[in-house]
Structures are given as structure tokens and as C-alpha cells.
């Protein structure tokens, strides 16, 4: 574990009775990272974030921030700031009062507070709404106030709990851009919790994928996309075709034209292929499978082909429209192949 990690979790665990919400977890996050914790709902990611912020006490383990053990400290004494999923703006205050609240608690001089609030409102484009009461703000404006309110205290770690989940798609995309710009402008350390893989791919430079209360894989978005640790990660990050097979004596037999040599222990395996890694009518010699076309969706530059193998396994293929001489018809038969160097063979559990 690098000694200069800004945030470190040592065996952090949370149990509720017999239920383990977060299994013993080790994690270290470097200063300046935009780190994302990605997982389906109920995977323990929000509980993990709340333990970092001090809102949930760990059942076991230690939380270190900037070299200090903060495990026993409440949120008011931690150098972390949180942006909540439903924002939690103070409804009886204006935009300016919301943003200034933390600095007023610190009893900073009035002039310094006003200057800092003005600067922060400029950063998140809220200057023109300074005196508007919180209940009269739109979703995106609330989001910006919540961000500004946390950032003005210059937290060592900014925790973002599904901050964009309540916004519509267009606004979410705008906020993605703003969050990235904000992170670059401030140079702080952000930890984002999300169930939205495209959001994580857009924003984060490191990702931990959680499932069932534990981190199943950690790495850069590219690492995780190209080398997912298991079938769950492969389908959760991006789209993936998972073809089950059985390995006997170093050979996996998927069909008459798909006999793959692959050393390893005998037993069930999953072959993982991204939709863009499969092609129609492959050159001879490449492994291929026969499938029937279920649906065809033309999306301009790309055409998505939904297919089914005879044993029911569904396959999704992304094809470049301009390379298609004819479009396969739903109900017809096609041959789908791939380059064996791109396939990923994962031992099935």
C-alpha cells in the first residue's frame, strides 16, 4: 500500500445483525484522484461512503484520512465533505446562506466569508441566484448549491453519493462536464458512488466495482473494461456477451466451428466478448457460432444486432452500418465470429 495514500481503509466492515452490508474492505485512494465506487443498488457502496464520511460507524476496521485515524470521529470532525443524493439543502436559507453556513460555523470574518461565497458561486454559475430561497431552485441548481456548500470548506476528500441520480439525462450530461472541470480546477480528491457505469466511465480515473458487500475489482476504467475480473464485472461495466462452456483437457467446445484451445483446470467457464468484438461472417479459421436474428436496430453509424444461440444464450453485436452490404432480417440465420486473441475466458464460479 503506497504510504502517501490520502484515504485508507483497513478491513472496514459493517454488519447489521446477521446481515453483512460491507465485508472487510481494504482500499487506498491517492490525493487528486477522482475515484468511483460502482455497483448495483444494495451492494454496500453507499454504506461504505457513509463510513468514510462518518455517518455510519464501522463494525470493525480503521478509516485513515491524510494519515490520521478518524474511525471514531463524527462527520463534524472529519476533513471530508459530502454531497447527498437528495442534496439536503437548508430549506429556510437562500443560496448564499446555504453556501456560507460552514464558514460561519468556523467563525471566519464576515468579509472573508462573503468573498469566498462569491468566488464559489461564480465557480458553479450561481451568482445570479444568490438570494433565491432554496425551495425555489431547480434540480440542477440544487445540485450546484450542494456542491458549492461542500467545496467551500476545502475538504480533503469530497464524497458524492449518487449526486446526479435525481437529474434528467440532458442535465446529467451537463453536470458531468461541470464536475470534471471542477475537479480539474480545484485539484481535490473526489469519491463518487454511482450505479451508472457510463457516469463512472465519464468521470472517474479509478474505479472500484462492488457486489454483495465487497470490492470485486479495482482499477482504471479501461483496465476494468478490457480485463474484467469476472462475468458480473463484464456485464456491469459496458455490455458483454457471456457464452458458457466446459473445458476438458485444455479445450473448450462451444460448437462445430468453435473449438478453442485454452489451458486450464477442467470445469465450467464463461467466454466474454464485447459486442464490438464480434463480427458477421468471419474469415475462415476464426471461431464462429450460428445464431438466429431476434432483432435489428439501426442507429445511424452503428447497427445493433440481437441474436440468440440455439441453446437460448442471447448475443448482442455492434456492427458498423457502412460495412454492411445487406442487413440481416429478423428470423434469419447468421454466422457470428470473433478473433480468439480478443476473447476473455473466465472460470465460472
Amino acid at each position: 500500500m503506497p504510504p502517501d495514500a490520502l484515504l485508507r481503509l483497513d478491513g472496514v466492515t459493517r454488519r447489521y445483525g446477521d446481515h453483512v452490508a460491507v465485508a472487510p474492505t481494504d482500499l487506498s485512494i491517492q490525493a487528486g484522484d477522482f475515484f468511483a465506487i460502482l455497483g448495483p443498488s444494495g451492494c454496500g457502496k453507499t454504506t461504505l461512503l457513509r463510513m468514510i464520511g462518518g455517518f455510519v460507524a464501522p463494525s470493525a476496521g480503521t478509516v485513515w484520512i491524510d494519515g490520521a485515524d478518524v474511525t471514531r470521529l463524527g462527520p463534524e470532525r472529519r476533513p471530508s465533505g459530502m454531497v447527498f443524493q437528495n442534496y439536503g439543502l437548508f430549506q429556510h436559507m437562500t443560496v448564499r446562506q446555504n453556501i456560507a453556513y460552514g464558514l460561519k460555523l468556523r467563525r471566519e470574518p464576515r468579509a472573508r466569508i462573503d468573498a469566498a461565497v462569491d468566488e464559489m458561486m461564480d465557480l458553479v454559475h450561481l451568482r445570479h441566484l444568490a438570494d433565491r430561497p432554496a425551495p425555489q431552485l431547480s434540480g440542477g441548481q440544487r445540485q450546484r448549491v450542494a456542491l458549492a456548500r461542500a467545496l467551500i470548506l476545502k475538504p480533503k476528500v469530497l464524497l458524492l453519493d449518487e449526486p446526479l441520480a435525481a437529474l434528467d439525462l440532458k442535465l446529467r450530461k451537463t453536470m458531468h462536464g461541470e464536475l470534471r472541470a471542477l475537479h480539474q480546477a480545484i485539484g481535490g480528491t473526489f469519491i463518487l458512488v454511482s450505479h451508472d457505469q457510463s457516469e463512472v466511465m465519464t468521470l472517474a480515473d479509478r474505479v472500484a466495482v462492488m457486489d454483495g458487500g465487497r470490492i470485486v475489482q479495482e482499477g482504471s476504467p479501461r483496465d476494468i473494461y478490457t480485463k474484467p475480473a469476472d462475468a458480473f464485472v463484464s456485464t456491469f461495466i459496458g455490455e458483454a456477451n457471456v457464452i458458457p462452456g466446459i473445458r476438458r483437457g485444455g479445450r473448450i467446445d462451444l460448437g462445430p466451428d468453435a473449438r478453442l484451445d485454452h489451458a486450464g483446470r477442467d470445469g465450467p467457464v464463461n467466454i466474454m466478448l464485447r459486442p464490438e468484438q464480434m463480427e458477421l461472417d468471419p474469415p475462415s479459421g476464426a471461431p464462429s457460432l450460428e445464431a438466429s436474428v431476434v432483432d435489428l436496430i439501426f442507429l445511424g453509424p452503428f447497427t445493433h444486432l440481437h441474436c440468440a444461440l440455439d441453446d437460448g444464450v442471447r448475443l448482442l453485436v455492434h456492427l458498423e452500418s457502412r460495412k454492411l452490404a445487406t442487413f440481416p432480417a429478423p428470423g434469419g440465420r447468421v454466422r457470428l465470429g470473433w478473433n480468439p486473441s480478443e476473447q476473455l475466458v473466465l472460470d465460472a464460479p
Binding site: 464520511g53 462518518g54 455517518f55 463524527g74 462527520p75 463534524e76 470532525r77 471530508s80 465533505g81 459530502m82 447527498f84 437528495n86 442534496y87 439536503g88 439543502l89 437548508f90 430549506q91 429556510h92 436559507m93 437562500t94 446562506q97 453556513y101 460552514g102 460561519k104 460555523l105 468556523r106 450542494a146 456548500r149 461542500a150 470548506l153
Partner: protein
């Protein structure tokens, strides 16, 4: 679109009829029983009382007489009302706060228990407190039996303290309800956010919870204050005989003394004084709970 306009106008007017019909009973009670009798006594508060008779007159001096003759009891009554309303509202706030934010799923059960004290009559409660606080009451006999005291403590009953205790007990559930309603509307995330920004538990209550509960605080306070300041039964039964409340004097003007002009002038003096106190408390709360 003559047709459409006509039918819309018809629906509009029929809705008005329904509104008027729904309001009618309450309006009849309000104007017939409250406004009419109050107006009658307001007029009478300027009349003159002679032996066994009241004579129409215009005597604003009736009010001066009230202040001169009963200024002491009036101040005592307003102070008692302030104490009762403050103690009750604060207790009710802490109770409602714990029910809303700390007890989790046991909250509704605790609220129900508190509201069961609404059962049981007003007089029953007063007698209950006489039984608890009296010379041979529960507290004194317990202390005597434990050997902690040799003679019953005389200062438990028949004083201002006993009045405050009894009225607080009676008013508490009434004060809890509006406060619990207001606290239910506050998002818990706001409290978490305040803590995250460095506010301790007390600061969070002062800066985030109380300002948003201010209308309910005022409602509970006004309810308790008006009922306490206007009460004349509790002071007569558990209070000090030498320190009667304003309500007791009003009662005797209308009763034994048969001086309704004076009683009416005293009533309107009390109403005016209560309104002044409530306005002062309201603006004080507003100033105190303003976001800084």
C-alpha cells in the same frame, strides 16, 4: 364556444354554492356564538354598574380602573402563562424531536403513549395532581415511608409551582402535535449536512431545526399561553389562595359581584395583554431564529 363557456360558468358557480354550504355551520357558530357575544360584552365594558343593574353609558375609565385595581394579578397571570407556555413548548419540542429523529420505528408508539394523556377529563387531571402533591399525597407518603423526611413537605401544593406542573401536564399533548407535524416535514439529510459542515448536535437544532419549526413553535406556544393565562379552575384548585389569577377575578365580577361591565373590561384587558405578549414572543422568535 358559447356552450363551453356556459357550462364552465355553471360549474364554477355550483362550486361556489358548495363552498358556501360547507362554510355555513362554522360561520354560524363563529359569528353567532363568538363574535356576537364578544361584541355585546365589548359594548358593555363601557357601561356603568349600579346596584343590581347595569346602565348603558360610555366610561373608558372602566379600563383604567382595571389596570389600577388588578395590575398585580394581571402581571402575575401573564408571567404564569409565559412560564407554563415556555416549559410546555420546550418539553414538547424535545419530545417531538426525539420521536422524529432518534427513536426510529419506536417513535409512533411513543407518540401514541403521549397522546393517550388526552383521554381523561380536565378536572380529573387536576384532582390527580392534588392526590400526587398533597400533604398525604403520593410523593409525601413515599418520602415519609422511606424516612427521608419527618413531616410532609408543605411546598408541593397550593402554590404557583403546582399550577405550572398541572397546566404543563394538561397542555403537553396539545403542544406536541403541531411540533411533531413540523419536524416530520424536515428532511433528515439537512441535519446530516449540517453535521458534515461542522455543526454539533445543539448547533444543528438551533440553526437548522428550530428555524424551520418556528411556525409550529409559535402555534404551540400561543395555544399553551392562551389556555394557561385564561384558566381559572387550576389556580383555584391547586394554586395559592392569596395569589389568585386574573381569570379568578373575572369570574367573581361576573358571579358574586354582578359587575358585568367591570368583568367585561377585565376580559378585554386580558385579551389585549395576551395579544401584546404573543406579538412580542413572535417577533422575538423571528429575530432569534433568523439565518445568520
Amino acid at each position: 364556444m358559447g356552450d363551453g363557456f356556459g357550462s364552465r360558468a355553471f360549474r364554477f358557480s355550483s362550486r361556489h354554492v358548495v363552498t358556501v354550504l360547507l362554510l355555513a355551520p362554522a360561520a354560524a357558530v363563529f359569528f353567532g356564538l363568538f363574535v356576537a357575544s364578544l361584541s355585546f360584552f365589548f359594548v358593555q365594558s363601557f357601561w356603568k354598574a349600579t346596584t343590581f343593574r347595569v346602565v348603558p353609558d360610555f366610561r373608558p375609565f372602566n379600563y383604567v380602573d382595571v389596570i389600577a385595581g388588578y395590575g398585580g394579578p394581571l402581571l402575575r397571570t401573564l408571567s404564569m402563562g409565559l412560564i407554563v407556555a415556555s416549559v410546555t413548548t420546550m418539553t414538547a419540542f424535545f419530545f417531538a424531536y426525539v420521536v422524529r429523529f432518534s427513536l426510529g420505528r419506536f417513535g409512533p408508539a411513543a407518540l401514541l403513549v403521549a397522546l393517550t394523556t388526552l383521554f381523561g377529563g380536565y378536572l380529573v387531571k387536576i384532582y390527580a395532581w392534588r392526590t400526587i402533591l398533597g400533604a398525604d399525597g403520593i410523593i409525601n407518603s413515599a418520602l415519609l415511608n422511606l424516612g427521608l423526611i419527618d413531616a410532609p413537605l408543605p411546598f408541593l401544593l397550593f402554590n404557583l409551582g403546582a399550577v405550572v406542573v398541572t397546566l404543563t401536564y394538561y397542555l403537553l399533548p396539545l403542544a406536541i402535535l403541531p411540533l411533531y407535524g413540523a419536524l416530520s416535514d424536515i428532511d433528515e439529510t439537512e441535519l446530516a449536512a449540517a453535521r458534515d459542515m461542522g455543526a454539533g448536535a445543539l448547533r444543528t437544532i438551533l440553526d437548522i431545526v428550530l428555524p424551520q419549526a418556528r411556525p409550529a413553535l409559535m402555534a404551540s406556544f400561543a395555544l399553551c399561553f392562551l389556555l394557561a393565562a385564561g384558566d381559572y379552575v387550576t389556580p383555584a384548585m391547586v394554586g395559592s389562595p392569596g395569589n389568585a389569577m386574573f381569570g379568578n377575578f373575572i369570574q367573581s365580577q361576573f358571579g358574586l359581584r354582578m359587575n358585568t361591565p367591570s368583568g367585561a373590561a377585565m376580559s378585554f384587558t386580558l385579551i389585549a395583554a395576551c395579544m401584546i405578549v404573543l406579538a412580542a414572543v413572535g417577533s422575538g422568535l423571528r429575530r432569534w431564529l433568523q439565518p445568520r
